[in-house]
């Protein structure tokens, strides 16, 4: 072997960031590498669902709002990220135990990479989403600049829930099944293909306790209706999402030291 040139060791934070970037890009490549159409497959399922549900509900429930397709697209895209993100993060520790056996890899990298990979699926579909909103709502207002902020909040929520659930999955492999069941029900319990206004008034309070309901509504507010949620609900949403992330992160950090004993 040739003599090596001395290279400075990378700082821990920078190395971790590079590692996360590399692994995320790689996961994305693995997912769509062998398919001829590549990343088209990343957006095809969601777009197909928007199309089907859009046609279905527009004809079944004729008194929908005028921007129903745009509402549906925001809701479906946001929910798919939440649902696949939480589901994949839950199984990340067990399925990626090979990464946990690498001394140089901080444990948190595993769920973070999983959530980021699903975030890329979302981002891949984002241009199409904007086109749909532009056509259906007749334009995008300046409030849409707040949209990335809500995406970041959603990322925090997904990561927090996913990390906590992955701790459970390591102890009890039932956790992934339970999480998938809750997510399947959550699709109906969250205003994904309907809006709060479509619900009977005495059921609306159910949505108050669902952070994903608030997130999707806020995303629709800024992107479609051109309004900004009130400062109180904005603040509350931020606090809840960050609290979930902090709780999940700490639980994960406390338990991750002995993950390998259970795998």
């Amino acid at each position: 072997m040739r003599p090596r040139e001395a290279e400075p060791r990378l700082a821990f934070e920078r190395r971790t960031a590079l590692l996360v970037g590399h692994l995320t890009a790689r996961e994305f490549r693995i997912r769509y590498h062998s398919a001829i159409l590549g990343w088209v497959w990343a957006i095809a399922p969601t777009m197909a669902r928007v199309l089907v549900l859009g046609v279905l509900f527009s004809s079944l429930l004729p008194n929908q709002s005028e921007v129903y397709v745009a509402e549906l697209a925001v809701g479906l895209l946001g929910w798919s990220w939440f649902s696949s993100g939480v589901s994949n993060a839950t199984r990340s520790a067990v399925d990626r135990r090979d990464l946990l056996a690498q001394p140089g890899v901080p444990r948190q990298v595993v769920p973070v990479v999983s959530v980021l990979t699903d975030a890329f699926d979302y981002l891949a579909a984002l241009p199409l989403l904007l086109v749909i909103v532009y056509i259906d709502a007749g334009g995008v207002s300046v409030e849409a600049l707040l949209f990335p902020f809500f995406l970041a909040l959603q990322g925090a929520l997904v990561l927090g829930v996913g990390m906590a659930a992955s701790v459970a999955d390591v102890r009890f492999r039932d956790a992934r099944l339970a999480v998938d069941l809750v997510l399947a029900l959550g699709f109906y319990a969250t205003p994904v293909f309907y809006t709060r206004e479509a619900l009977p008034a005495d059921l609306r309070y159910l949505l108050d306790w669902n952070p994903m309901a608030h997130l999707l509504e806020a995303q629709r507010d800024v992107l479609i209706y051109g309004t900004v949620p009130s400062a109180i609900s904005l603040g509350l949403l931020t606090v809840v999402c960050l609290a979930v992330l902090t709780a999940g992160w700490h639980l994960h950090r406390r338990k991750a030291a002995t993950f390998l004993d259970w795998l």
Partner: protein, 388 residues
């Protein structure tokens, strides 16, 4: 490491179903490691030896920080790189080059550094560019291991942990890996290596640690410790001694077999038994050491053959260790002896609970004749033919 211990829970329930509906057996704690003190200095190559299940891999995992010690303290002042799990995160569809870069990134390089060293990796693994562009699934196991070692080799760890992977590839490649590790240590890298290939350790190690039932049994000069270890497997109990009644014995005599007899179903001593009849082998022992438990074993082999047709131990049969008294007897009962009629040697032994020390082992000492119609084939289970 100071006083490091690691406990695992055995028999813990791993699913909700087991928790709700499982038998209510309490989980046991098993000390896989206890009271291990070990310091690895820069430039040290510490070899770790011991039987399978003795705690070697756990020691390496704890040293790497992959799992938390249950007791004691682990202090690391070095970046750790491990050859513990080869081909982590390898994707069968992506190219070998792609996988090699990921392996190097996982081992501590930045993606840019890793890509820059791809040539070195391929060179070390002796794979040409065209091969490196092939999807990983087309690689043989040997090629995969070579690539994995090469990817880890181009990183410059301060502490390298190697678990049983030196026996990778052909001899030429093994030689290359050994030379590479020697080269690393000259640059101040310390190495903790677990291996069963004692010749590798003889060459590499500056110190050898012998882990036995979870704790350090011997530590020191590689030559000495490795010799003792090797003898414990084979010659440690000493040269065979002749028994007065014929046959031979070996062992340190800690739990001595005083009399071995074959008994029929009525408990009468016999030297022959009809095929398919019950037979018991009774081992009477006398304890000369302070051990509280021991394993016992009985093997049957044909006269003139080394192959044991029956090889049963107290542990292997699930009975666990035998609790010892100063004098006592252990009996193995075979409900049916369905062996081909012939003459058999009944070999018997007593061993330490971890099987490292044979206390007393007798062979060619007791013969048992199986009677019956001549047949072919070593095992003659009860059977009948029918036609329709």
């Amino acid at each position: 490491m100071e006083g490091v211990g690691k406990r695992y829970r055995r028999g813990a329930r791993s699913s909700l179903r087991a928790r709700f509906f499982g038998r209510t057996q309490a989980a046991q704690w098993v000390d896989v490691l206890h009271d291990v003190d070990l310091t690895v200095h820069p430039g040290d190559v510490v070899g770790v030896i011991g039987r399978n299940g003795g705690g070697k891999s756990t020691l390496l995992r704890v040293a790497a920080g992959l799992t938390e010690a249950s007791a004691g303290q682990v202090r690391r002042h070095a970046t750790v790189s491990g050859l513990l799990a080869l081909n982590a995160s390898a994707s069968a569809e992506l190219s070998a080059a792609d996988n090699a870069v990921t392996a190097a990134v996982l081992a501590g390089l930045s993606p840019r550094q890793a890509r820059a060293r791809l040539g070195q990796i391929a060179e070390f693994a002796e794979l040409d560019d065209a091969t490196m562009r092939e999807p990983f699934r087309t690689f043989s196991d040997g090629m995969r291991l070579r690539l994995a070692f090469a990817a880890a080799a181009v990183t410059e760890p301060e502490l390298l942990l190697v678990d049983e992977v030196l026996a990778v590839g052909d001899f030429a490649f093994q030689e290359k890996c050994l030379a590479h590790i020697e080269n690393l240590t000259r640059q101040g890298c310390s190495v903790l290596v677990a291996s069963h290939v004692l010749d590798h350790l003889r060459r590499l190690a500056t110190r050898v640690v012998w882990i036995r039932s979870g704790t350090i049994y011997h530590v020191g000069d590689p030559g000495k410790v490795l010799d003792t270890y090797e003898r414990s497997m084979d010659e440690y109990p000493g040269a065979p001694q002749s028994l007065s009644g014929g046959g031979f014995r070996k062992g340190d005599g800690g739990v001595r077999l005083t009399q071995v007899t074959c008994l029929d179903r009525n408990g009468v001593e016999v030297s022959s038994v009809a095929r398919g009849d019950a037979v018991s082998v009774r081992l009477e022992y006398e304890r000369h050491n302070a051990e509280g438990h021991a394993n016992f074993g009985v093997a049957l082999r044909r006269v003139g053959s080394d192959l044991a047709i029956i090889d049963l131990t107290t542990e292997g049969s699930g009975a666990g260790w035998t609790t010892l008294a100063d004098r006592g007897a252990v009996t193995l009962t075979l409900d049916r002896l369905d062996l081909e009629p012939d003459a058999y040697w009944v070999d018997t032994g007593s061993y330490s609970t971890d099987w490292v020390v044979p206390f007393d082992y007798h062979w060619d000492a007791l013969q048992l004749q199986v009677l019956g119609r001549p047949a072919s084939g070593p095992v003659q289970p009860p059977h009948r033919w029918s036609s329709s």
